[in-house]
Symmetry: C2
Subunit: 150 residues, 2 copies
């Protein structure tokens, strides 16, 4: 397997990223075409915020994964910063190949570099295969993840 | 019950806020004195970030509650913004008085005003009393909340 590199997403990645988000059993019904201007607006909002990092994983010049990191300051736990991971996706052809694990390990290290005391994420209870994956990385499901659609 | 008002936290609130965070069965062992400079640094980081809102609830001139809102841009779900609620605490003397419900309803409305399509929070699985409270507000525990201490 050739090596995987990680970098901040660029505007030119947007079509590939939206395709990755849509290529997912749960995500497919929630996305539209990459040309929908909602995605360019969202990309700018993320890119303009120094506490957001939209990251892509590349192998042999091809984008094979995406995730978003949010660095969140807070008062609790002695003013601890949290790193939050959202929207993790690996390209269909690259799954079961250690890519997801490499991406998460990279993301955890980025959180450490930014001084975070905790990394957190929520995972849909239907994604049972993902749960063992996060637990193997050291995550513990100590919390209920509540969502309210507006 | 006199009326509750909500406002952005000010530096002068810091001692009262840290006391609120520490007056909690789970939080008590995780906080230090409000004079610890870690809290002033955290307050500045939150206050300087336009996507963070540390809010206090006041009644009769006294701070009786605190919560933090984070507004998070994202690519998923057609570039949906998320409102995230963290560090919800109500003063001991004001619990079981509708204060928590009023705070959450205010926070949800703030998320709506900012254009969020979802409000999310995680709640420690040990806080069983809080779970019915969030469900009564319309939240659903559809996700596992994973945490990894660094």
């Amino acid at each position: 397997m050739s090596s995987i590199t990680f970098r901040r997403a660029a505007p030119d990645d947007l079509m590939a990223l939206v395709a990755l988000l849509a290529d997912d059993p749960i995500g497919s019904g929630r996305e539209s075409a990459g040309t929908d201007p909602c995605y360019a607006a969202a990309f700018s909002a993320i890119d303009d915020d120094p506490n957001q990092l939209l990251a892509v994983a590349e192998r042999a010049g091809r984008v094979i994964g995406v995730l978003q990191l949010s660095f969140i300051p807070g008062l609790t736990r002695r003013g601890m910063w949290r790193g939050q991971i959202e929207g993790v996706r690996v390209a269909a052809g690259a799954r079961r190949d250690g890519v997801g694990r490499a991406m998460l390990e990279w993301a955890i290290e980025e959180c450490r570099k930014r001084g975070c005391g905790m990394v957190q994420l929520t995972s849909d209870k239907r994604r049972t295969a993902a749960h063992g994956f996060y637990e193997a990385l050291g995550f513990r499901a100590t919390h209920e993840g509540y969502k309210l659609a507006l």
